[in-house]
Symmetry: C2
Subunit: 676 residues, 2 copies
């Protein structure tokens, strides 16, 4: 090996690509140490033992006048036997690639750190967004070796702790009991004899937040997974991620089994209050669902669920409390008092999450206010409206619509009681989004011809070969929005939502039952049940109530922020993603905005959970951002009723409350709950 | 109230008794604040609301030239209505006693803080010791009030946390989940209306280590208990203490139910290794025993066991590991590797302790080495040999004798494999210490007359009225030691332990069966079974083996420390306490020492656990002291066999290894286990 004592004062230039970091480094240091000194962290799980091969770098060769150096493979110490054996086994050229932990700097070098060797990889979240997330999870792997136990020597854990401090700078570590239970066997199973014949005990430990060893595995290992979960009122979505690469391995979703105790949040709260063991039952079924989703996702990804060491959870405030086993009673009435609103770090096992590793951590994102939950903080992380110059409105449409409005200067959050109509409930033939549900509707204004599509079939109802049918089972949320918007656009209903008297003449599918009109969307012969799928006058009213609540909430927020226009609208949530922005605009579901600046962003709450899973700093940013977000209580806002009434027409009255020139905040909120 | 603005620069002299602390304090501050400023902490659970009455102080009146002041009741602000009402209700004179939180200093005062008002009470541990322990437990009570929940306000826990920080300086607090689960109901149940008609929510929280809220109770409460437990190989002893007064409320003991899986440590380790679920079963039964002891102690003290918020546990290394569910396999063979040796803080519930409060803490004292456990650290805390100038030997006699030797300069610990003979096992008529067991023996050297006493009866066997009998059932450990010592003192056995050929002539109770002598200690007609209780030649040998191991261990330690005499010997442990020092000396169980400097100190390990329960600083001191104690591995020490052989005669060879002039530490320890 290079002897730096012979060159005590000599330094060489090191340039690292792609970061461009450069510096003069002492003769004889390893590339790994030198890079660290320049602030470039390389993967090196084995701690420089040339066993993991993670720290490989590319040695650029030639004259690089721009960097002011000549770089050659010979400017690094020659590979030893271990490195040569590794390179031969893995089939690469040592003139080009070297292990940073082994190669010592003997002259100027230009080195490229390939992405797979960077300790902090960048993960592109999704195509629809520019958000780049550094891979910096809360749990990390470290390999250490200790001397075998000896008479009168330190205990096994104390030796491991000392090694973790000495080799990785992890001081004051504690060890979780399940990990301690397995430590002694793991250490002895990881015994290896080195070239000199000395015995070493090697283990890979998983460390949470640099504070606690939560898993120990014999020898060198390399698997680390995490789970991000969005616990929605209706749907639970779980994302299984590889925490070493940031890759999404599997997505699993299922209906929230709490649905059988109540469709919407208020009925869950009522169930919790009225049944003696209501809270416990609601908690039990959701935890079981999380365990089932975990094993399902692990099966899909072909991994052991016990290798999942971190779980991030988001959900609205009621879901958040029920996950923790907290009684949601006080969320059900004014002043909607949360038990706790801060981010929470727990053991997954203490939540009852049994499928993951026994030492796995669980992190709940913080809540903002009594009705603006951790799911909305997830949306904040994913969409980052609080970092924008432009005024962005993010609408997470569900049983409660949760809204975020603002930009980098100020953010307001609110919750608007849309009711379950958008999820197909309280609609004559409404149903959940499932195969057979009508999700797309078109009415030709000229001919009055109606056509539709159902989930699970690419064809429109007028494209079928004779003798076949789509077998519609009902209408789901996006179908309801489309049918009402299309009815209005075709002039078959007026701004008040009433069916036009001449509608049957212009559209054969419209009929009157007494004074109330209705649209036969799918005649009996086209449906699964043999009964027609009908949209009644009452259904139109339900949609108007729901969209009026949402629109009124958005307008109150805009008013509070002092803006009369938003620059960008993002429709989020499993349901929001399926809404056609054009129909939402026709219906007056959302405030005016350039149509091409309205987009569906998918399950942003779940995306936020994934971001918090991949990057622990984002959790701190989320907590900071959540504290900055102001909460506007719309349900009991003195102007809500007025705004709501003004928002009922289609698309809406031109300005729901033109008399309000300045944001109103002086009036004390009425002590009533509009949500009940 | 006094207006300090009128006297902005004025100060008055305050002298506090009995501490003698004094200082000049600003006009108008309360006695509570002023005392705190002088480093005297007063009880004040209610945070100065004049409701708890804990901070009462006595106002001394008169001229005190020694303190340089004239003290008068009028030098304090007059009592307000609340204080007058409290004094009237509790029947004391406001001219003499005042609440420190209410009385403001308007002139020089001399104030006595009675013991009950001192936040740090001193608790006298036991009559036999001078150890004074400040009452400073790991868990403490704090009363706070918060504003009721309001729309858009902070969540309930965040308001409580802010109040705990503002009023008590507790920053960065977290809350345990069981406490969080009860927080909202407790807050609302603690609602009170103040004199101005404003609502406040008051709760008493229990805080662990100034870090975590582990219990919440509505309104103002005042109960806080702790449990100290010594988990012995044979006996488990639990002490229930009032953590507000330091008082011992109840002591409960039971046999360690692990006994049925093996009498001594090695057989427990074997059981753990040989049975598939051995560790789990050993863990389960001891945890169940702890739960039973907890409810038993609570019943005896007439308290709710769920009011126990802190548990301190000590035990030898095998007990320590089995308590944690750790496999003791590696403690069973060289090099006796502990999984962990540091002190441990856990949730009691995570250990399976279900009878205590769900948020209760559990603390395990550290271990010193593979065979010197947390029980010995308890002994260290209770006996404090490491703070002495004199050389003290503490012998905790049990199946393994654990020894501590040294003084403030250097401490050595060791474990000596005495085997179970001292506990009555492997002795022909040996039995555990229980009613009917012979515990005291006297042999008159002149007449050869033998008499004895049994546990549970005050009479000697020769004091009975004719026709009655003691109904002896066997011999317990202290009885065995006495009988062998008495046989030797009467010349019936010689230094080698052999029965003298003429013994039957000098003592009618001695007889020979072939070449082997034996003593009929209790003839058939005096015993419960109708069979004689006999001490055989083999029994004498067993005792010689046991005492030889212990003595050899002590001598090796003395040699290592470089002393040929100890100044003081303390016999500890449930069994050690029953040994008569004189007989121990005759037998050669312990090194030479002035007889009046040999004392039985009771269950020192349990006393140490109590000290650690009452004073959290003692835990840190214990951990420090444990790190300083050197461990001498006697079992595989190269000189052990020689010392052991030399220690077999009664009392012992004059010097077990005279050829060793200096402490031997160069020889590498043999890789054998003398314990098996």
């Amino acid at each position: 090996m290079a002897d730096s004592a012979n060159h005590p004062h000599q330094t060489h230039r090191l340039v690292l690509l792609p970061s461009g970091r450069r510096g003069d480094v002492p003769y004889g240091v390893t590339v790994l140490e030198a890079a660290r000194g320049l602030g470039v962290e390389l993967e090196a799980i084995c701690g420089g033992r040339q066993t993991c091969g993670k720290c490989q770098v590319i040695v650029e060769r030639g004259d690089f006048p721009r960097h002011g150096l000549v770089s050659r493979a010979e400017h690094l110490s020659p590979p030893d036997e271990t490195e040569r054996a590794y390179a031969a086994a893995h089939g690469y050229d040592l003139g080009e690639r070297r292990m940073a932990c082994a190669a010592r700097i003997l002259g100027d070098v230009l080195i490229t750190v390939p992405e797979e060797s960077q300790a902090r990889k960048q993960v592109i979240r999704k195509a629809a967004s520019d958000v780049l997330i550094d891979l910096a999870p809360a749990v990390r792997l470290y390999y250490v070796e200790v001397e075998p136990a000896s008479l009168g020597g330190m205990a096994d854990w104390q030796r491991v702790r000392a090694a973790l401090e000495a080799e990785w700078g992890l001081d004051g570590l504690r060890i979780d009991r399940p990990a301690l239970l397995g430590l002694q066997k793991a250490l002895r199973a990881g015994e290896r004899r080195d070239a000199d014949g000395d015995l070493h005990w090697g283990i890979t430990v998983t460390v949470w937040m640099g504070q606690e060893v939560i898993r120990v595995e014999p020898g060198y290992t390399d698997t680390l997974y995490g789970l991000a979960v969005d616990v929605g009122t209706t749907t639970i979505a779980a994302y299984l991620l590889d925490l070493r690469s940031g890759r999404l391995l599997a997505t699993e979703a299922m209906m929230n089994p709490q649905v059988r105790f109540g469709e919407d949040l208020m009925s869950r709260v009522s169930f919790a209050m009225q049944e003696a063991d209501g809270v416990e039952r609601l908690n039990r079924v959701v935890i079981k669902a999380l365990n089932d989703l975990t094993t399902g996702a692990a099966r899909a990804a072909e991994i052991d669920p016990a290798a999942i060491c971190d779980v991030v959870l988001v959900g609205n405030t009621v879901m958040h409390h029920l996950l923790l086993g907290l009684d949601p009673e006080y969320l059900g009435r004014v002043p909607f008092a949360l038990a706790t609103e801060g981010a929470l770090d727990l053991k997954a096992r203490d939540l009852g999450l049994r499928a993951v590793h026994p030492g796995a951590a669980a992190h709940l994102l913080p809540c903002i206010a009594g009705y603006v939950g951790a799911d909305n903080v997830g949306v904040l992380l994913a969409e980052q409206p609080h970092l924008n110059d432009e005024i962005v409105l993010v609408v997470d449409v569900g049983t409660n619509a949760e809204l975020l409005l603002g930009n980098k200067d100020r953010m307001i959050s609110a919750s608007s009681p849309t009711g379950p109509a958008f999820e197909g409930a309280q609609i004559s033939h409404g149903q959940r989004a499932a195969p057979g549900a009508i999700e797309r509707v078109r009415i030709d204004p000229a001919s009055g011809k109606v056509r539709y599509r159902v989930i699970g079939d690419e064809r429109w109802s007028d494209e079928l070969t004779p003798g076949t049918k789509l077998g519609a089972t009902g209408i789901c949320g996006s179908g309801i929005i489309e049918v009402v918007a299309e009815l209005y656009a075709a002039g078959l209903i007026d701004a008040s939502g009433r069916f036009a008297a001449d509608a049957p003449q212009r559209c054969p599918a419209v009929r009157f039952d007494g004074r109330l009109g209705e649209l036969v969307l799918a005649p009996a012969e086209e449906t699964a049940s043999g009964q027609p799928v009908v949209v009644t006058q009452t259904d139109v009213r339900q949609i108007q109530l729901a969209k009026g609540a949402l629109y009124a909430g958005a307008k109150l927020m805009m008013h509070a922020l002092g803006v009369d226009k938003v620059d960008k609208i993002k429709l989020a949530g499993a349901f929001g993603s399926y809404i056609d922005p054009r129909h939402a605009m026709i219906l007056g579901l959302i405030p005016d905005c350039d149509l091409d600046r309205v987009s569906a962003v998918g399950n942003s709450a779940g995306d936020g959970a994934r971001i918090a899973l991949l990057n622990v700093e984002q959790r701190a940013l989320a907590a900071q951002a959540a504290r900055r977000v102001e909460y506007l209580e719309t349900g009991s806002h003195p102007d809500f009723q007025e705004a709501f009434v003004a928002a009922m027409p289609i698309p809406h009255a031109s300005d729901p409350f033109p008399h309000l020139a300045v944001p109103s905040s002086s009036g004390s909120p009425a002590e009533t709950d509009q949500r009940g």
